[in-house]
């Protein structure tokens, strides 16, 4: 006979781990169907209907649905052209180039803002919570930094097309989608990786670049102790030569400005030539002229020269390796179970991975239906990352969000700017990484501002916040410096001179949303506090710091 209390703990556990915590009504919904059935539903997100209103609002974010090439043509090429024209007129004076491109660069910021809002909107409101968790998980696993060059326009579409559709399918498909995406090839420099002495080798494309090959094994697949050597890194780099971006040449206008990036100015292959259609709008381009067709010895396999198929074969080997199965299972268990996950479970997950040819859904099922997952000692044992803390706070209050700036500003302040992790290893999700004195002050300040209705979350979306008809400037979402410098504060939103606008959460409703599950000391502290501090205390309570 399971006690009422144990049942309540299990309901909260699945809401906290398969998603970003309860929204109003979630607790009752899971109680009605039972936690086991909830897990099965979440494992099949396609079976969960999405409110038409949410779909419509996500679809309004135009840029996350554009192709990388279309994004380049609309948002990057005009900047390059303006730079080129200014250079032709007034030389390479940096100040005049900055002036000439300023408005275009501000115009470009909408691309990152839409990516951030589309992510947060679905994390906060979406019913397919496990899918949202897995999207964040895999993006972080295949992390790219939006502050690096072209990834400023490609990060959103990378997540939308290379990550989101593949979060529960075969890992090989997910791996392939990232390996072919221009955002990844640009971020880890493989677009310049060139066979020495090949016909296409010249200028900045003259030789091997090991960056992607190394991280592909160390971070994406085998893991750092996955049994590869420096010779394997070099072999894989050779195998991946020529995997890169299409070349936007062709127009005289582009000339030297583009040539610094793309020295090949042949008319075929460029972004807007008929051949571009053959290349596809994906933005992936294999340049046979820069590929090393020789055979390579890679991880005790001989890979013979057959153009792009060599790389595909290498990805097959990596995706089906036992080291990869272990590495991914450990990471998943560390996210879903505990900072130091039980070894026996990791091993069963890795077995399932190998038995199903790397099917992510099957591995998740093994984990989420395990005894370890339900073990009470792991309930509430994970310290939330800043992303999880901020999203779960907003979900718990149920406040409708139309202005996301205070949310991503808080994540930035807490050291976890969305899409702002500069290094390819992504963010950690352990307590050790995120619990520190200053973080507690910042988290509780956020809880206070949100809990007392002092964040401008319900203000109109940015473009409509016109003052006297004048359009305000789009602020940068992911700064080029990776977000180390925080521009946000809890006091005022610089884009909005008016005071905060949001409905203060009702503490009684908030407590009910969270299943009235509080320690005696929290319950007493909430009781003893003035009414306007009760919601802040609930959101800032020790139990709400954890999931």
């Amino acid at each position: 006979m399971v006690s009422e209390e144990a049942k309540r703990d299990q309901i909260l556990h699945v809401l906290n781990r398969l998603g970003f915590g309860p929204r109003p009504g979630d607790f009752e919904r899971v109680r009605a169907i039972g936690p086991d059935r909830y897990v099965q539903q979440q494992l099949h997100p396609e079976s969960i209907p999405i409110a038409p209103d949410l779909t419509e609002r996500v679809n309004q974010y135009r840029t996350i649905h554009m192709s990388p090439i279309a994004l380049f043509l609309e948002y990057q090429r005009p900047i390059m052209q303006a730079r080129m024209a200014t250079r032709a007129e007034s030389g390479s004076d940096q100040a005049s180039i900055r002036d000439a491109t300023k408005d275009l660069r501000i115009r470009q910021r909408i691309v990152m803002r839409e990516a951030v809002e589309a992510r947060l909107m679905r994390a906060i409101e979406g019913p397919r919570q496990l899918q949202e968790v897995m999207t964040a998980f895999w993006f972080n696993h295949f992390n790219i930094f939006a502050g690096k060059g072209l990834d400023n326009i490609w990060t959103g579409v990378f997540e939308e097309t290379a990550i989101r559709p593949h979060t529960m399918g075969k890992f090989r498909t997910l791996l392939g989608a990232t390996a072919h995406h221009p955002a990844m090839l640009f971020y880890l420099d493989n677009w310049q990786n060139t066979a020495p002495g090949s016909p296409g080798s010249k200028g900045k494309f003259e030789g091997i670049n090991e960056n992607y090959a190394r991280e592909l094994m160390e971070l994406h697949t085998l893991g750092v102790n996955g049994g590869y050597s420096q010779a394997d890194v070099i072999a894989l780099a050779h195998i991946l030569t020529g995997w890169g971006l299409p070349k936007p040449g062709g127009e005289r206008m582009q000339g030297a400005a583009m040539g610094r990036f793309y020295p090949f100015m042949r008319r075929r292959d460029n972004f807007w030539s008929p051949r571009a259609a053959a290349v596809g709008s994906s933005g992936f381009y294999f340049d046979a002229d820069r590929h090393d067709f020789s055979s390579q010895n890679f991880l005790a396999h001989r890979i013979d020269g057959d153009a792009v198929a060599q790389g595909e074969r290498a990805l097959d080997i990596l995706a089906s390796s036992a080291a990869t199965a272990n590495h991914l299972s450990f990471k998943l268990a560390q996210y879903f179970i505990a900072d130091d996950p039980p070894k026996a479970l990791v091993s069963r997950m890795a077995d399932r991975y190998l038995a199903t040819d790397g099917e992510i859904r099957a591995v998740l099922e093994t984990m989420l239906t395990s005894a370890e997952f339900q073990d009470p000692r792991y309930c509430g044992a994970k310290f939330k990352t800043p992303y999880e803390y901020v999203v779960s706070c907003v979900r718990a209050t149920g406040v409708p969000v139309s202005n996301y700036r205070p949310l991503y500003g808080t994540m930035q302040m807490l050291g976890m700017p969305l899409y702002g992790c500069q290094t390819p290893n992504g963010y950690a999700n352990t307590q050790d990484a995120w619990l520190n004195p200053n973080a507690m002050m910042a988290r509780l300040s956020f809880a206070t501002a949100l809990g007392s209705g002092n964040l401008p979350l319900e203000n109109p979306p940015f473009e409509e916040a016109a003052d006297g008809g004048a359009m305000r400037r789009e602020p940068a979402v992911v700064p080029r410096d990776g977000g180390g410098k925080v521009r946000f504060n809890f006091g005022a939103d610089p884009a909005r001179p008016h005071g905060p606008r949001m409905t203060p959460p009702d503490p009684t409703q908030l407590a009910a949303t969270l299943g009235n599950h509080f320690s005696p000391s929290t319950a007493n502290a909430v009781q003893a506090s003035p009414a306007q501090l009760r919601a802040p205390l609930i959101l800032g309570s020790p139990e709400f710091m954890k999931r």
Partner: protein, 431 residues
């Protein structure tokens, strides 16, 4: 008017940082410092601060991403250097945009010219061909080892800078170790408490938690002895102390004109805090952006663009520390060096040996320490990288011994299993 003007209701607003709270804050800070005993809590650290003998300190700046040491302190006397780097080698001394000559053999990257005066006045030294003996070329493993201080051993839980603080006898106050940045890095993980403050001007902005009524309410939630409660209380104490010191300074800072670059903004803040808080013993900050696989540039370009603010920030730190510079050693470290040869994309890949920077009043500078292995093919590590002849723990141990006045036993606690001295950095610190 649909919604309120921002300043119509500031006093009752919990979320906004009000002018009232700021004034109250500064007033409170003034009262506290006037009393002479600042925020004496469960720790006895305020009393320690009155002991004039304890003021030697160590600042560590970590360049994450592996800075190209061969272009920071370049061996311009070796033709092999120029042969290996046709487009990214820095021109010889005397050429326009050429190296700043150091000793006739090595030259400093021209973007670091702001540090030339420290070199000339003998408070800046380098240790070349220095690094971690572990062969990894993974950024993350190499940083981990350099921060744990135990290369090759992954099970080490704490960081060497925290162990260095813990090796000093007595209890430790919440601001003896200070990290600039939103999270506490591996190097400072461990038993001794660590304060951290945000980067940039956000560090000085008031937050709702600065208000006594809110603080008092949360105190009831975090009275326990668990790790979150301890972080809470350390945060509360450290924030009060750091904010009161910064607030005092703000009054004379004349509106606080922004620094020319973000790093100087942070080093200036660090200098102010050190000047005002004699209890700060160790401080840490990290800078990213050194992973120059493509388009590294030479005298100008990507690397130069990163070195310039670093050099300016360090020069400014030395200047603003004033008399405290005489008691401060600043180390600049990075996880490994980069390949000797430039790659096919005008950049460099992950390498091995690097250069460590050692700066401060106690340093016997104006000298490139270490044993230079040379760049001939036979002397390179795995035929591609600068070899390591000095373990990175050696110069740090020398700083701990001669500057922080650690015994060998204390140093062993910081670097268990450290290698025997090679003699390569003898005399690095004035005795």
């Amino acid at each position: 008017m649909i919604f309120q003007e921002s300043d119509s209701c500031t006093e009752c607003s919990l979320g906004s940082a009000t002018p009232i709270s700021r004034r109250a804050f500064i007033r409170r800070a003034a009262i506290l410092s006037a009393s002479g005993i600042v925020l004496l809590g469960p720790h006895a650290w305020a009393a320690r601060s009155l002991d004039g003998a304890i003021k030697r300190r160590l600042v560590v700046v970590f360049l994450r991403g592996a800075v190209d040491g061969l272009n920071v302190v370049a061996p311009h006397a070796e033709p092999a250097y120029y042969d290996a780097r046709p487009t990214i080698a820095i021109g010889r001394t005397g050429a326009s945009d050429g190296l700043v000559d150091l000793d006739g053999y090595f030259g400093l990257h021209p973007a670091l010219a702001p540090l030339e005066s420290q070199w000339r006045d003998g408070t800046l030294a380098f240790v070349h061909a220095c690094g971690s003996p572990d062969p990894t070329r993974s950024h993350f493993d190499a940083q981990d080892f350099m921060e744990s201080g135990t290369p090759g051993i992954k099970s080490t839980q704490d960081g060497w800078l925290n162990r260095a603080l813990a090796a000093i006898p007595g209890t430790h106050g919440p601001t003896e170790a200070l990290s600039l940045g939103p999270t506490v890095p591996r190097i400072l993980k461990g038993k001794a408490p660590v304060a951290n403050i945000a980067l940039g001007r956000a560090a000085e902005r008031p937050m709702p938690m600065d208000r006594p009524v809110i603080e008092a309410a949360f105190d009831r939630l975090y009275a326990g002895n668990d790790s979150i409660s301890r972080a809470y209380r350390d945060g509360r104490e450290a924030r009060k102390r750091l904010m009161s010191e910064l607030a005092d300074d703000m009054a004379v800072a004349n509106g606080g004109a922004p620094s020319p670059n973000g790093f100087s903004d942070d080093t200036d803040r660090l200098a102010r805090l050190i000047s005002r808080d004699p209890t700060i013993r160790v401080a840490f900050m990290a800078l990213g952006g050194w992973d120059t696989h493509i388009s590294e540039g030479a005298a100008n370009g990507q690397l130069a663009g990163h070195l310039k603010p670093l050099g300016e920030g360090l020069a400014s730190l030395a200047r603003l520390l004033g008399p405290n510079y005489q008691d401060t050693v600043i180390l600049v470290i990075s996880e490994f060096g980069r390949t000797m040869h430039e790659n096919g994309n005008g950049g460099t890949d992950h390498g091995h040996g690097n250069v460590m920077w050692v700066m401060g009043g106690p340093v016997k500078g104006g000298k490139v320490y270490g044993k230079w292995p040379g760049l001939s093919p036979g002397s390179l590590y795995q035929e591609r990288d600068l070899a390591i002849t000095t373990d990175f723990r050696e110069p740090i141990a020398a700083v701990l011994r001669s500057h922080m006045q650690f015994s060998d036993a204390q140093i062993d606690r910081v670097f268990p299993g450290r290698p025997c001295s090679s003699g390569n950095v003898d005399g690095l610190i004035k005795v």
